[in-house]
Amino acid sequence: MTRIPHTLQLTPFHPRTAPLIRGHTWRRWSGHAAASVYDWTHEHEYAAIRNAAALLDVSPLHKYRISGRDATRLLDRVVTRNVAKAAIGQVLYTGWCDAAGKLIDDGTISRLGEQEYRLTSAEPNLRWLHRNAFGLQVAIEEVSQALGALALQGPLSRAVLNAVAERPVDGLKYFRVMDNRIAGTDIQVSRTGYTGDLGYELWIPAAAALPVWDALVARGADYGLTPAGIWALDVARIEAGLVMLDVDYQSAHRAMIEAQMSTPFELALDWTVSFDKGPYNGRRALQAERERGPAWRFVGIEVNWDSFEALHTTVDLAPAVPAVAWRASVPVYRAGSQVGYASSGCWSPLLKKYLALAHLSAPHFDPDTPVELEVTVEHQRLRAAAVVRKLPFYDPPRKRA
C-alpha cells in the first residue's frame, strides 16, 4: 500500500546532509529537498569551491540511460550537438530544441559505450525522448532515482579523488568520464561541473551512496573538503557564466508565450549547435537564425563600482552588494531606453565585482557596450553604469588543465 508522501523527495545522501544543515534552509529542486546552505552563511562554502574542494549533492538532476542500436540516432535527432562524433568516454554539454529551435532544456550526454549514453537534464524529458524515439530501436530508462550524483568541485578536488578513489584521475581530461571505485562501489567519475572550476561529478548507485559520501568526507578533511549548498553554487555559476533553466531561460515546453522562449544562439550556446550532422529538432529554424543573427544575446554585465557607490553615497550609505545571488528580472538600459533584462546577479567575492547575467537585444550586446542596470537604493529605483562583458567572467586555466 502506498502512503501519501510526508515530505519532498529525499536524495540518497539525505541521511548525511540533513544533520549538517544548521538553519533548516532547505529549498526545492525538482521535487527534492536540497540545501541552500549548510553553514550559517555560504561564504565558506563558496570559498571551498574556489580555494579547496566543495561537495555538492546534485542528485535531483534528471538522468536517463539511453541504449540500443539507435541510441546515437535518437540523441542526434534530439540534441543540437553532434553526438555521433563523441568518443566513448567523452561527455558533451548540449541543449535541445523544439521544432522552432526554441530551447527545451540543457544538460550533459556521457557516451558510456558504443551504444550507451547517459543524459542529464534539469527537467523531466522522458516523454520528449519517447516521442522522438518513434520507429527507433532504443531503450530509454529513467535512472534519476537509481543514481545519486555528487559534484566535487574546486582546485583540490583532484587531490581528494586521488586520495579516495581506487584509480587515479590525473589522466581524466576535461569533459571525459571514467569508471572508478570508491569504498568498494563501482562508480563513474566525469570531469564536469557547474562551477567553471576544476571539478568532477560522481555517478553513484543510490544504494551505495552513503559509504561513498563517508569516504569522501573522511579523506577530504585533509583537503578542506566542505559540503556546499545552492547559494555557493549560484555565485560560482554566475562567475562562470553558465545559464540555468527556470532562472535564465524558460523551457519551450513550459513557456506560456513565445516571447518567453529562447534559442541556443540567444543564450550564447552557438558552440553547441552543430550543422555538420543530419536533421534534428529545430535545425532549420536554427540555420535561419544563424544566417540572420540572433535578436537577443545572453551576456555578462559588470556594474561600474564608482557609479554604484555614488548612488549609495548620495543617501549616506555604503554600497550594499548582494552576497546571495538574486534570481529576478531586472531591467537593463542603454541611453535611457530598456534594451534587455538581467536574470541573475551577485557580488563576486573573488573578482570583487558586482556581476549579472543578462539578455540584451541587438545591437546592444557587444562586449564593452556601456549599459545601465537598475538598482534599488533606499526604495528608489536608480540606474548604475555597467558594461557588457563576454562570458565567462572567471575561467581559471586549471578548469581544463
Binding site: 500500500m1 502512503r3 501519501i4 506560456m256
Partner: protein
Amino acid sequence: MTNRYDAIVIGGGHNGLVTAAYLARAGRKVIVLERRELLGGAAVSEQVFPGFTFSVFSYVVSLLRPEIIRDLELARYGLQILPLESTVTPLPDGDYLASWNDPDLTRREISRHSPLDAEAMIEFGRLMHHIARSVKPFLSLMPPDPTSLSLRDLRGMLKLGGHLESLGSERFHALYKLLTMSSADYLDEWFECEPLKATKSASGIIGSFLGPRSPGSAYVLLHHYMGEIDGAFRAWGFCKGGNGTVSNAIAAAARSWGAVLRTDAAVTQVLVRNGRATGVALETGEEFTAPVVVSGLDARRTYLELVAEKELPDELLEQVRRFRFRGSSGKVNLALSELPDFSCMPGIGPQHRGAFSISPSVDYLERAYDDAKYGGFSRRPYMDIVFPSMIDPGMAPPGAHVASIFVQYAPSAIDGGWTPARREAFGDTVIDTLAEYAPNLKSAILHRQVLTPADIQEKIGISEGNIFHGELSLQQLFFLRPAAHWAGYRTPIPGYYHCSSSTHPGGGVMGAAGRLAARAILEDA
C-alpha cells in the same frame, strides 16, 4: 399599487439573484419571486438533518465569475471560498491515483502509474489553460447571432473571430477537437494511464446524458477547465457554509440596493398585454406588474409554461421543445458519525479535504452510461465525493461529518419512472459501491438524503432534473442556447427576458447568465 416594480425576476436561483442585484444596483426597483421557502435554487445550504448542513444540490464552486464577486462585493456579504486541494481515485486493486495541490507531488504520484503521463500532464494542462483562456472571454460575451447583420451582432462576431484568431493554429486545432471529440478519445491522444483518463474524462460527462466515449463530451471537459479561483484556472473550491452562501451573499448585495426578495411565491403566469410583458401572477392569484419580467427558470418553463404558446413564434417553440434536458445526475447527502476510511489510503488525512472520484477506468464509466442508456440507473455508478465538514467544520456537529456524493448515471426517464422504492434502491447502490472502497461507511451513516432527477425537478423545478438547465452539448451552446436567434437573453415578447442557466454560457454556479441578462435589460431601457 405596492405591487408595482421596475422589474420582476421569477425564481430566486443564483442567476435570478445576480440579475436582480445588477438591476437594483442600476437604480431599478426590483422584486424576486421564489417558489421555495429559501433562495438559491440549485445553490442552497439546508439543515436537512438537525446539526448537519448540506449543499443539497451544487456543492463546489469554480466557475463563479470573479467580476461578479467584485461588482457585488460578495466577500463583504460572507462569500469565502476555501480550497479543495486534491482528487483521489481509489482503484479496485487496492491502489489509488491521486492528484494533489502541489505539482511536484502530483508528478511523483502519477509517475508511479505512468512516468510519461506525469510529464504529459504538464503539457496538457498548459494547452487546456491556453484554450480555456482564449474561450473564457466568451463566457462574458453576449452571444451574437451569426446570421444577423445588425451592427451589434456583427461587432460581436468580429470580437469572437478575434479571440479565435489569437489562439494560433495548434490551439485552434485542439479547440476544434475538444468541440467535436469524445473526452475519452481526446484524452487517449495524451495519456495512457486508465484511471487518469477516466478521472479526467469524468468532467466531460457531468450533467450530460453522454458517456466518456460519446462525441461532444470533450467540450464539457473544457467547460470545467474554465473555472478559476484567484486567477488560478481549473481550481475548485468549497464555499464556506455551503453553496447557499453564494446565493445568500448575492441576495444580501441585492437587498443592499433595495431589491425585494420574496420566498413562498410561485409564479404561474407571465402577464402579457398587447404582446408586451406587463407582470406576473402567483399561484395565490396575487399579481405584480412591471415593464420588465425576467425568467430565472429553465427554457422549457420560461417559454412553454409561463407564457401562452400563441405569444411565441412556432419556430422558437419547436426549438425549445427539442432542447435537451435528459437529467442524468443524482445526489446522495450523508450525515456521518465518522469519516469513511478508504482502504487504499487508510486513516483520516489530508485526502479527506479533497474529492474522491469513483472512476477507475473509462470502461467503468462507459458501462455506467450503458446501464442508463437502456433505462436503468448505473449499477456501478461514477461518483464524486467530498466531505465539506473537513474544510468547514461548521457543516456538522463536532466530530461528525457530512458527505456530498454526486452520482451518475441516474436517468430522468428511468424505466417505470422514479418511485420511492427505486430512489432508495438507487441510494443503496451508491452506498454499496462506495462501501467497497471504504468499509466503515455503512456503519457511519446517521442519515441519508437521496436525490434523483425527479427529486431535483420537484424540489427546484428544473425540467427533467438536468443540473445545467439543459445539456451543455455543442448544439445547445452559445448562439444556440437556448435557441437560434433568441440567445441574447431577450425573448420575442418585449419586456420578457431570460437569465437562467438555460442561456449562454450555461450551467454551473457561475452567475454569468444572470449578469449578461441584466446587461441586456439595461441596454434596452
